[in-house]
Symmetry: C2
Subunit: 463 residues, 2 copies
Amino acid sequence: MNSIKIMLEEKKMPTHWYNLAADLPNPPQPPLGPDGNPVSPQMLAKIFPMNLIEQEMSRERWIKIPDEIRDILYRWRPTPLRRAVYLERYLKTPARIYYKDESVSPAGSHKPNTAVAQAWYNKQFGIKKLSTETGAGQWGSALAFACTLLGLECKVFMVRISFDQKPFRKMMMKAWGADCIASPSLQTNAGREILKKDPDTPGSLGIAISEAVEQAVSDPSGKTRYALGSVLNHVMLHQTIIGLEAKEQLKTAGEKKIDVVIGCAGGGSNFAGISFPFVCDKIHGEKIRIYPVEPTACPTLTRGPFVYDYGDVARMTPLLAMYSLGHNFIPPAIHAGGLRYHGIAPLVSQATVEGLLEPKAYDQVKCYEAALLWAKTEGLIVAPETSHAVACAIEEAIKAREEGKERTILFCLSGHGLMDLAGYDKYMNGELKEACLSEDLLQKAVSVFQSHPQPKICRTGKW
Amino acid sequence: MNSIKIMLEEKKMPTHWYNLAADLPNPPQPPLGPDGNPVSPQMLAKIFPMNLIEQEMSRERWIKIPDEIRDILYRWRPTPLRRAVYLERYLKTPARIYYKDESVSPAGSHKPNTAVAQAWYNKQFGIKKLSTETGAGQWGSALAFACTLLGLECKVFMVRISFDQKPFRKMMMKAWGADCIASPSLQTNAGREILKKDPDTPGSLGIAISEAVEQAVSDPSGKTRYALGSVLNHVMLHQTIIGLEAKEQLKTAGEKKIDVVIGCAGGGSNFAGISFPFVCDKIHGEKIRIYPVEPTACPTLTRGPFVYDYGDVARMTPLLAMYSLGHNFIPPAIHAGGLRYHGIAPLVSQATVEGLLEPKAYDQVKCYEAALLWAKTEGLIVAPETSHAVACAIEEAIKAREEGKERTILFCLSGHGLMDLAGYDKYMNGELKEACLSEDLLQKAVSVFQSHPQPKICRTGKW
């Protein structure tokens, strides 16, 4: 029997998350308040529970995963590591392609890894309700799932255009007991202001974040907090269970050396999850190439500047030191909604500044082509976001064939695409266009940074 | 850590399928041709490959699973056996509820278990193309998946109303390279005849079967065969891997005695899969209650007669000895499309005649109520079909509480409902009505049998 699926025993599921901040040669720079000074934990206390704020600021290398969280994660974890033998044969490549299959979670993506942790920490802190935003719906449904298991209320502000176009995601959240409404809404000041100016707005992630944060901070009982599905340090932390498991599984598969690690990158969470344990190895001398892959329509790491920028349109969040296309930037309407965020996690940004990562950007047409080849060989229909990682893995496997070299490739299959088939259909009907961001639009987007405080660029650069 | 997920090692995946026909006190009666005589293998040779026809007629108890089929099944098998501890706590029941999670397959249901086997046997026999029908789309997408992995062409006739209402399923088949068209179509005589009479017909499973069979038998190259996703003996056989795995896993969980086994029942395949290995135990003296659960809208086992009936509207199939509501019967349009078939597998029928099974029928409103409780406690959104098994498990668990008795319950979670959320939405909005079949309609449906040859009712009845 082919060794195409490598399972990990329950008892070998990681007991600790890995914190890259402990190992980065230059740790990420602190978030700043509107006055340009670093924010204190107290300034965030109305938005997040203090236990998560501590985690956000921690420099500890290993942070214990509470048993109750492990109990819940164990419902679908450890996830399988699979080897893409059918694709390898099709490509006639000497490369061995492994993928960590996060699509097996009940919500269909890696998002529940942090949703469950965040819901649990909030509950421990006495919080009764979480508010959040969602674009395509992966994060909103993951948080709805976590909240129903832990008995918390959940309120999701879903970008109106997705709310209207993706009724299934909305129904999924509702089935899990969440209150999902279209954003902008009449329930917040931020929403009302925007609707007054533009009653027909399709909404945006930036607007939805503003509404969700307002919802949390304005609850007079003080029992509501905000939850974010990507970008922040504690979210990256919770996702490292992906890469830690994969490392164990690769050992079981007899792989001594990993050459390439790949993840698609929007806010950065699945990329951080699969790659940070390997970034640690790279810092400690291993030769390994690590590729975050983004869409050419939203080329944050490949073409954006490293700056201090806000996480939302209404500037309600602190300033974060990150690569960004500007908090007002609205990328072209590609199908990979989860990769349309203007910024990217400070930890991923700092690792990029340090030269530890080699960002790539692919166009959506190339990605759907890869996804379709994947579906026909490996039999899995991946999310449009995940197709970026698939395209990169295929490119690397072909390069290995051309160079006549063995190579071990690992990527994160972050989610399935069963609820996002419209993009496939467009591609198959030849209706999908390339969506590369023009230089003009890029320049216009990043002009916003002239008035911002800028982060220091600290590079060690020995990789 | 709670023992909520029981995995089975690769090497313990069953090596043989179990054939209930070997153990039934009175084996199922043979299919008959239009002349009332048993059909010979040769009469079926234009529809199915000879290796599957042999399997269909086999009385061997154990049939070896070819290694290549096991290699493919291993991509998602053994599937997890899970314990519903959250639901148990919610219900305050002393019962232990286990469920075999078949939703983890790439197509999201148990259907690929037989799709892969059928595609493989056809390929071995030199067949290049398979044709089939699909209603809601579970079976069509499973066969498309299997065909792409094995390099066969696949043609799916999808009931027009589903084709129009469920675009995602159709796209899924297309992504896997299948040619999926609406039925009735202009590509077959059967389709053209029906469209001539009624150009706006929504189509039916019976019509789509007629078209798919015609497609297979009329290929002049002789390289096309028909594949059916349920009802037939070889389909039941391929699904027994579900129950065989579950038995091993229950042993691992320390369960010595299973009290109740449950599966939803349409054509009978997931029910047969989970239950037949336990039916064998019952025949050999174990005390165990086995419940096939059907919708009150299509109460084949609970209210239909045991008769010889055709599998399709156009009477292209042999006559099968089964419970049936009549091959012309069109049940109310409930959301569990997979449970709307007029007949049920001859093996399930014979086991019912023998008194080995205790069929139940539930209304869809009760089933959605159960499915929603399941989503909120166990975190999984099940298919509308599967909700019938969930409702039965909940009923049994409540009975155990009322009787103050421990009880071990096993059911088959046959598929997820991520592509069928419209029914949930209707239920949550209070728009879903009960859909019990009236006595008048039942009488009208079964009046068709007056002119048919009838099977003998052979009962041993010691259970």
